[in-house]
């Protein structure tokens, strides 16, 4: 199956066997699936269900709850821009406008080249560095429009040098 590679699959299966309650691994399994494909497809949910010996619905219940489990296709880099009060009060909205202008997409969308998906997020725990955003778990603080341009450029270069 294309959803998970053999090695991860066997690792996860081994852990499932070791756990008295395999269900507690559902977030780990989903994150593992997401790591490979960028998002969790329906097949991914079914695989996780099979692995954890619960029904796909029970996996889906959890998968749709968490906002960092992507149940819809995303770009190669997911930008999470903090819109909570600290970043908001220090110009987070301007950064959002700038990002939207630069990437030509609105929140929730993916750039046509499949590079970036722009999503809002609640506080990133970087209130001291507001405004902040994270790109594929890499945190960027003290954002200015210029810094954003630079970050986008670097992130883009990282994928296709």
């Amino acid at each position: 199956m294309d959803v998970l590679d053999e090695k991860t699959l066997s690792e996860l299966a081994a852990r499932v066997r070791a756990y008295p309650y395999p269900r507690e691994m559902v977030v780990d399994v989903l994150r593992a699936i997401q790591e490979r494909r960028g998002w969790v497809s329906d097949e991914g949910v079914e695989l996780a269900a099979q692995l954890l010996r619960i029904s796909p619905l029970e996996v889906e219940e959890v998968a749709t709850f968490y906002d960092k489990i992507y149940r819809r296709p995303v770009g190669r880099k997911v930008i999470h821009l903090c819109d909570s009060v600290c970043c908001f009060s220090r110009g987070g909205e301007d950064i959002l406008k700038h990002l939207e202008k630069r990437l030509q997409i609105t929140l929730g969308q993916t750039t046509p080249d499949g590079m970036f998906t722009l999503l809002p997020t609640c506080c990133l725990g970087a209130c001291g560095q507001a405004p902040a955003m994270s790109v594929n778990l890499r945190l960027y603080g003290h954002l200015t429009p210029e810094a954003v341009d630079r970050i986008l450029e670097e992130e883009r270069r990282e994928v296709s040098p």
Binding site: S55, L57, T64, F65
Partner: protein, 795 residues
């Protein structure tokens, strides 16, 4: 017992109860959505706000979550809690669609009631309303997610109570979505309960979609006729059409829940091809003519050829009254007792159980309260679905569930399984009762010993069997086990699954003489000249040896309301009324008489007479197709008993002392009377023949497809099992059959082509699920036959 005051009414309730439960007891209605009697408190809807005026925590509290305290003073009318409830309604209505006119819940909608009760008339919100896409949840349940108020009752019912795992809650915040992973039929056999528990129109009954408003329905307290459990139901009909069946919300006996077979299997009553006209030798006639002809011809034959020329066939699905009157007729004719069950093994088992002491017979409530349940040679989901649900409730309370059966018996709870050949089950029961386990192999004895330890430690064990699976020998062992285990401090009980709602009473009516076995002798004598089939279909249920004689009889009379093969072949046919079309009584599997009231009068539904259009514009005192009469009425007429149902019941009480109290039964009061025990029939002289060598055929019943009423309900077609023969994978390979290949199965001179499937079965066993109308299905279940399975070549 803390005593508290609610709205000025004083009430005492047991420790640990909540204010809401105390209020119900005091007759104060506290509005609620997420609380449900059988599901308990959740605390999600926040509607049950009440004000605690005096108590440890004063102020507005949730009634469903606050335990009662001595001396508490609670007000439901206080302004602050009233305001809270108003706000909850406002919040819920802010996104609720404006579609009550096209919503099937309208008229019995809790949200509607609460909106009116909460004085919510004007939507103060200016925002746009939230919408969702719906899912197709299959042929039974209609989904309209926009109406959802997220009370979580559906999930708790489906997952926690009924054990389904394909319906749940997705997403978070204000877009929580109640549905399936992918659209499709809800797989739980108890999915219909969603209709009853949903307080709004989110989940409604698709089978009766848009057919009627609740206030127009004719409803009555009734008893489900689809199996022997006797679940309390409230069927509803209109324009002579049965439109829906809902569970009686009262806790006993079925805790307010129903299986899909009982809920959606009502279609037989409305069939266009249902026989509604009497027939005499192929000529249509009136019921009165037919009744007169029946009496004259049977009496004539009895005079001319002796009473032994008359064979009366009773029915597990006819009322207790009808069966009793049939017995009475046999007595008056001087003929042998009616044959109530054509399957000798099942009949014998039932007759033993029907004479067991009442204290040993478990009810559904006993099963729910049990701390250990053993299921031996029974398939509860097929033979008494609510018993499987009761097992789940026992398991949820921590009871262990053990299954002793060769088949992979499906259950809705965790269970430990011990595959054991049907012939060995009685021996296993004797071992549990302290026997030596002779004839049991060592690998079986070890888990059995573990089970015995559990059984000996349990305080309220219930052992469940089925009449077909256990047979007379097994039932004796079963009763001996529980009788031996019952002591003042522990309550061991047995439950026996029987084929139909009157089976218990029929088994009690049948004399101690083993009449089903006796039948073979009578049939062989070639003396039978008149056969009367009371709401039974021998041509589909009996083996060829029996049907051959019946078909050749000079008089073959049938009373029925289903278009069965027997009705088609009978030369005298009398239309009888269906179970919801008459007053009468059934007798559940624990031997409790259960009266039910008429919902509809018999007659062709306007749906058919009007051909989908309005009913015809003529005045007529006659109801089209309304000639059918209850079977007990027909038989009472034949016997010359007047006085309607009470007259017939009085006569029955006179004739059969164990049916004392029948006359006093009332349906709406949910009167119950327990049939007393009796002297069990003597064991048969010779035990069953030796186990056949080679491949053995085992038959069992499906959830839908064999039970006669639901088998005639078109909407349940999707639940009908595949025509398959199941074999151990090794056996399949030995026979050269690939899974999915067509195989010819032969046994007892009957043969049929089925799809071969692999299943987790002991070797040497071929397992076939019965389906009404198929050849093999005429063999009795529970018995084991020598059989041949071979690959079928060609198309």
């Amino acid at each position: 017992m803390p005593t508290l005051t609610i709205d000025g009414r004083t009430v005492s309730v047991p420790e640990g109860k909540t204010i809401l439960e105390a209020a119900e007891a005091a007759g104060v209605r506290v509005p609620h959505f997420c609380w449900h009697r059988a599901l308990g408190a959740l605390g999600a809807c926040r509607l049950c706000a009440v004000t605690v005026l005096d108590g440890p925590q004063k102020g507005v509290r949730m009634a469903c979550l606050t335990p009662v305290q001595e001396g508490m003073r609670v007000s439901t009318l206080d302004e602050s809690s009233w305001n809270m409830r108003r706000s909850v309604i406002e919040w819920l209505m802010a996104n609720h669609p404006h579609d009550c006119p096209v919503c099937d819940e309208g008229g019995e909608c809790q949200l509607q009631d609460m909106t009116v009760a909460g004085n919510h008339a004007v939507r103060r919100q200016r925002g746009r309303k939230r919408t969702f896409h719906n899912q197709d949840l299959g042929p039974f349940i209609e989904h309209e997610m926009n109406r959802c108020i997220a009370c979580y009752r559906c999930v708790r019912t489906y997952r926690d109570y009924c054990g389904g795992d394909d319906f749940g809650v997705l997403g978070s915040r204000d877009r929580v979505y109640f549905g399936r992973f992918r659209p499709g039929r809800l797989l739980s056999p108890f999915s219909g309960n969603l209709v009853d528990v949903c307080p709004t129109g989110t989940l409604t009954d698709k089978t009766s979609r848009f057919r009627a408003r609740p206030w127009d329905l004719e409803e009555a307290s009734s008893v489900c006729p689809h199996c022997a459990l006797g679940c309390a139901v409230i069927p509803g009909g209109r324009y002579r059409e049965l439109l829906r069946v809902r569970a009686d919300p009262r806790p006993q006996p079925n805790d307010g829940f129903l299986c899909d077979r009982g809920r959606f299997g009502y279609g037989y009553a409305n069939r266009a091809d249902r026989p509604r006209q009497a027939r005499l030798e192929g000529r249509p006639g009136t019921l009165a003519e037919a009744v007169a002809a029946l009496r004259e011809r049977v009496e004539g034959i009895a005079r001319q050829h002796g009473p032994e020329a008359v064979l009366l066939l009773g029915s597990a699905r006819a009322t207790v009254e009808a069966n009793a009157l049939l017995s009475l007729w046999a007595r008056r004719l001087g003929a042998a007792d009616p044959v109530f069950d054509l399957a000798a093994r099942r009949d014998g088992a039932a007759r033993i159980f029907a004479r067991a002491a009442p204290a040993l017979r478990a009810t559904l409530a006993d099963v729910r309260q049990a701390d250990l349940t053993l299921v031996c040679g029974a398939d509860p989901l097929a033979e008494g679905p609510l018993l499987a649900l009761a097992l789940r409730q026992a398991a949820r309370r921590g009871a262990a569930v053990r299954v002793i059966d060769p088949r992979p018996v499906p259950l809705v709870c965790e269970a430990e399984r011990l595959p054991l050949a049907p012939t060995l089950v009685p021996e296993a029961l004797r071992f549990l009762a302290g026997g030596n386990g002779a004839g049991l192999s060592q690998e079986v004895l070890q888990p059995l010993a573990e089970t015995k330890r559990l059984f000996d430690a349990a305080r309220r064990p219930v052992v469940i069997g089925s009449a077909e699976g256990l047979g007379p020998d097994g039932v004796r062992a079963l009763l001996a086990l529980v009788a031996g285990a019952s002591r003042p401090d522990r309550d061991a009980k047995a439950a026996l699954l029987l084929p139909g709602p009157s089976s218990f009473a029929c088994a009690r009516l049948a004399s101690a003489v083993p009449n089903a076995q006796d039948l073979r002798r009578r049939l062989g004598g070639g003396k039978i000249r008149a056969v009367v089939a009371l709401e039974v279909d021998p041509l589909a249920e009996a083996p060829p040896a029996v049907t051959g004689v019946i078909e050749k009889a000079e008089l073959f009379a049938a009373l029925d309301y289903l278009p069965t093969a027997t009705v088609g072949r009978a030369n005298l046919f009398l239309p009888s009324a269906g179970p919801y079309e008459q007053d009468g009584a059934f007798c559940d599997f624990a031997g409790r008489l259960r009266a039910f009231a008429r919902v509809l009068r018999p007659g062709t539904p306007i749906l058919h007479t009007g051909k989908g259009n309005h009913p015809p514009r003529t005045f007529s005192p006659d109801v089209p197709g309304g000639d059918a009469a209850p079977a007990w009425e027909i038989l009472a007429e034949i016997l010359g008993i007047s006085g309607g149902l009470s007259g017939a019941r009085a006569e029955i009480e006179k004739a059969f002392s164990f049916l004392q109290g029948l006359a006093g039964l009332r349906a709406d009061a949910r009167d119950e009377r327990v049939l007393p025990g009796g002297e069990p029939p003597a064991p048969p002289g010779a035990p069953a023949g030796p186990e056949p060598a080679g491949l053995r055929l085992l038959l069992s019943d499906p959830f839908v497809g064999w039970e006669p009423l639901s088998a005639h309900a078109a909407v349940l077609e999707v639940l009908r099992p595949e025509d398959a023969v199941y074999l151990n994978p090794a056996e399949l390979a030995r026979l050269g059959l690939a899974p999915g290949a067509r195989a010819r199965v032969e046994a007892q001179e009957l043969s049929e082509i089925r799809v071969a499937r692999a299943a987790d079965l002991p070797p040497g066993l071929a397992w076939v699920v019965r389906r009404r109308g198929s050849a093999l299905s005429r063999l009795p279940a529970g018995e084991v036959f020598a059989c041949r399975v071979a690959r079928e070549e060609g198309a």
